[in-house]
């Protein structure tokens, strides 16, 4: 019995020693690999190389995550557009709808365009009223505040002057500027002009509506204002009128 125990002890010693050696060897290999990996990740060029080599694997890993996010975003946008279209289709048998349809027929705007426009519609981010000659800001309306409207008004006037002088023909005026999904629509009057910063889909009908609003505003409120002194009193007066006219309009 004692002899058996001795043999067993010897065997256990041999086996464990070999295990220990194996583990130590493996550990060293893993540590060396980790060092190598750390070195590669800290070196931008090597890291870029690793990414380049593993492009397919990265796409496999990230693709489904990004895909799900995009799918979710598109689904929510479609739901929003659908909801807006449904709202409009409910109004299809109303007198208001018939009136709009007749108006579109006269204006030559398709109902399809109009429906898309109302569903995805452009929203008003900022509105400036700017004196034509000096480029001074007379008033502004902004659902979302932006910095330094005075400077923006000046730069818009300078760009307008630049474009009109460089490319314009006699009596032609700049009517819009586009940047990414933003559109700046300019409505020119004799002594001042309106600059509307819009985001989203802006079609002929929306432009037409804005023009009607500016014509109305100029005719009834702003046409007679004195621009001799562009001061806070004038600004306040103009801004009250702008807020009255636009506070619940062109928001999407």
């Amino acid at each position: 019995m004692a002899m058996e125990k001795d043999h067993f002890e010897q065997l256990r010693h041999l086996i464990l020693e070999s295990d220990r050696e194996n583990y130590a060897e493996q550990n060293e290999r893993i540590l060396a690999k980790l060092d190598e990996l750390e070195h590669e990740l800290n070196d931008p060029e090597k890291f870029a190389g690793v990414i380049q080599q593993s492009k397919a694997e990265i796409i496999d890993v990230l693709g489904p995550v990004l895909g799900k996010m995009m799918k979710k975003f598109i689904a929510s946008e479609i739901a929003r557009i659908k909801e807006n279209i449904e709202k409009q289709s409910k109004a299809i048998f109303t007198f208001k709808f018939l009136k709009v349809k007749i108006k579109h027929k006269v204006a030559g705007v398709s109902m399809g365009d109009s429906t898309i426009s109302q569903a995805m519609g452009g929203s008003l981010l900022q509105l400036f009223v700017i004196e034509k000659n000096s480029g001074l800001l007379i008033g502004e309306y902004s659902p979302q505040n932006i910095l330094e409207p005075d400077l923006v008004a000046g730069m818009l006037s300078a760009i307008k002057s630049f474009v009109e002088s460089a490319f314009g023909q006699e009596n032609s005026e700049l009517e819009s500027l586009e940047y990414s999904s933003y559109k700046i629509l300019l409505y020119n009057f004799n002594r001042f002009y309106f600059a509307c910063v819009m985001e989203g889909y802006v079609d002929a009908e929306l432009k037409d509506q804005l023009q009607d609003d500016f014509l109305d505003l100029t005719d009834k409120q702003l046409g007679s204002i004195s621009l001799k002194n562009v001061d806070d009193k004038l600004k306040e007066r103009v801004e009250i009128e702008l807020a009255k006219k636009f506070s619940k309009k062109y928001t999407n």
């Binding site: 004196e131 034509k132 000659n133 000096s134 480029g135 001074l136 800001l137 330094e148 005075d150 400077l151 000046g154 730069m155 300078a158 760009i159 002057s161 630049f162 009109e164 002088s165 460089a166 001799k228 002194n229 562009v230 001061d231 806070d232 009193k233």
Partner: protein, 165 residues
């Protein structure tokens, strides 16, 4: 507090220090890129005159624009014009005086127009003599800041006085 907005245009040949004067003076400024793209840079400075806050919109026009038709558009509606020359380049003085006599005193005769000789810090004794021949309103240095604030303040006061009288 009451506030008014006024437009001031800065004119002068390239390198006379218009942009440095503005940089020395203003609160907020657009990037220099605009100056090279459309020949203009607009900045804003608010000054206090008595009970009134005056917002000065400064239109800094690139030196090489003076020969182009577009530059006339930038002058429209200005309440004040600063003509700027370099103290050690007499030809820049001659150039602004020609501009003043042939153009501004005719088309913009109701706009306050003042001549600034800039870079006063570079004037040495012999140069001080030739300055005697120049007719100017302010001698400034954008580098040291001498008279810069004063020139703009005076311009704002003149404009305000005229608009309230």
């Amino acid at each position: 507090m009451k506030s008014v907005n006024k437009k001031i245009v800065l004119l002068g040949n390239e390198g006379v220090g218009k942009t440095s004067l503005v940089k020395r003076y203003v609160n907020s400024i657009f990037s220099d890129e605009y100056l090279t793209t459309i020949g203009i840079k607009i900045s804003k400075k608010t000054v206090q005159i008595g009970e009134i806050e005056v917002n000065l919109m400064l239109w800094d026009i690139a030196g090489d624009m003076m020969n182009k038709t577009l530059y006339n558009n930038y002058l429209q509606g200005a309440h004040g014009i600063f003509l700027i020359a370099d103290a050690i380049r007499p030809e820049t003085y001659e150039s602004i005086i020609i501009e003043k006599e042939n153009h501004l005193s005719i088309d913009f005769k109701n706009t306050f127009t003042y001549v600034i000789i800039n870079k006063s810090d570079l004037i040495s004794e012999p140069q001080a003599d030739y300055l005697k021949a120049f007719k100017y309103d302010y001698l400034t240095s954008a580098k040291s800041g001498d008279n810069v604030e004063f020139a703009f303040q005076k311009m704002a006061e003149e404009i305000l006085k005229a608009s309230t009288s």
